[in-house]
């Protein structure tokens, strides 16, 4: 079973070529983030957690390329990417503020095997997200829901304020289902009357969300590099096996 899981991660899903994608729909997630649903002819399918390289070409031939995690489940049938606005960014202002349905761009993917999960890989899983790092973990939870799985899954999301919280209503709906625990920590401004976690992720929060190292959960940590390094260190210090910690670093600011 483990061998099959490794082979599944190894297989490139079709040749890794640039494909023209069309924006089919856009959804405003927060004032600063938007999900683009892409139609990609010939899309070979993906595993939850994988990403695409996305490329934009200007009229004079100038190109810019960024990687974005696929936030939709493999079962969904569309390739969704959630883009958060980076101040003075090169690509995100275009994708969040300008692009609209019908616009074309290029994608290459799906990419990634190390940072991917399927219900068939088993659990428990511990997912820790910093800001827009929630996108690939959301793909994992949407996949888990699509497969009606009861695999023990815990999600801890660190975000600045309710206004920055991605997918909050969907997670509130998914949260009470069997085997899933969703926790938030707000680092700048919690919601009014909030009784949950606040501030930077720390050892107590991780211990409270669990599961502990004795359950040998596969841990997926995603977000800006400083966040990922901080959380990965906390997990190792808490006794989690480093080989079970999968990290995906978005860079200094996250996107």
């Amino acid at each position: 079973m483990a061998r099959a899981a490794v082979l599944e991660r190894l297989r490139p899903r079709g040749p890794l070529v640039w494909r023209t994608a069309t924006i089919a729909a856009v959804k405003e997630e927060t004032p600063r983030a938007r999900t683009l649903s892409l139609t990609v002819p010939g899309w070979p399918g993906h595993r939850a957690g994988q990403h695409v390289d996305l490329r934009l070409t200007a009229e004079d031939g100038y190109q810019a390329q960024r990687s974005y995690s696929i936030s939709s489940a493999p079962e969904a049938g569309s390739v969704d990417v959630t883009v958060e606005l980076v101040d003075d960014g090169e690509v995100s202002p275009y994708l969040v503020e300008e692009a609209h349905p019908g616009d074309e761009l290029e994608v290459r993917g799906p990419i990634g095997g190390h940072f991917s999960w399927s219900v068939d890989d088993g659990g428990p899983v511990l997912l820790v997200a910093g800001g827009s790092g929630l996108a690939p973990l959301m793909s994992m939870l949407r996949h888990r829901a699509a497969r009606a799985s009861r695999t023990d899954a815990r999600l801890l999301v660190s975000t600045r304020s309710p206004g920055d919280a991605l997918y909050r209503s969907e997670l509130e709906e998914l949260g009470p289902r069997p085997g899933l625990l969703v926790a938030w920590t707000f680092t700048r401004e919690p919601p009014p009357g909030w009784l949950g976690f606040a501030g930077r992720v720390d050892a107590e929060m991780l211990a409270a969300v669990g599961p502990g190292p004795e359950a040998a959960p596969r841990c997926f940590v995603c977000g800006p590099t400083p966040f990922v390094e901080h959380v990965a260190n906390l997990l190792v210090d808490a006794g989690h096996d480093p080989h079970l910690i999968h990290a995906e670093r978005f860079g200094p600011t996250g996107g």
């Binding site: 991660r9 190894l10 390289d53 993917g109 990634g112 190390h114 590099t225 990290a247 670093r249 978005f250």
Partner: protein, 92 residues
């Protein structure tokens, strides 16, 4: 202040241009510290090209020259490459 680095997951698209397989799960034995880690866990630094470094000891693992029409890749340590074969491949 944290260094400006990402990880092997972010350069997987680039490495997939070179290898006929998904690169992030490939396990590399470091030439310096002997630790075994998947490429997806290696630290990626972006200079003129890309440098992947061992997550355990920080030594250089892979250097990638990124040029307009060519990639130049230097591999250090020992990489166990595993590639899935086509359906009609000849058996051993």
């Amino acid at each position: 202040m944290t260094d400006v680095h990402t990880d092997g997951n972010g350069v997987a698209g680039l490495l997939a241009e070179v290898l006929a397989t998904e690169p992030t799960v490939l396990r590399r034995t470091c030439q310096s510290c002997g630790d075994v880690q998947p490429l997806g866990a290696h630290r990626a630094y972006h200079g003129a090209g890309v440098v992947l470094r061992c997550p355990s000891c920080g030594d250089v693992a892979v250097r990638i020259g990124v040029h307009a029409h060519r990639l130049t890749v230097e591999w250090r340590g020992t990489l166990l490459l595993e590639v899935e074969r086509a359906e009609d491949a000849t058996g051993a």
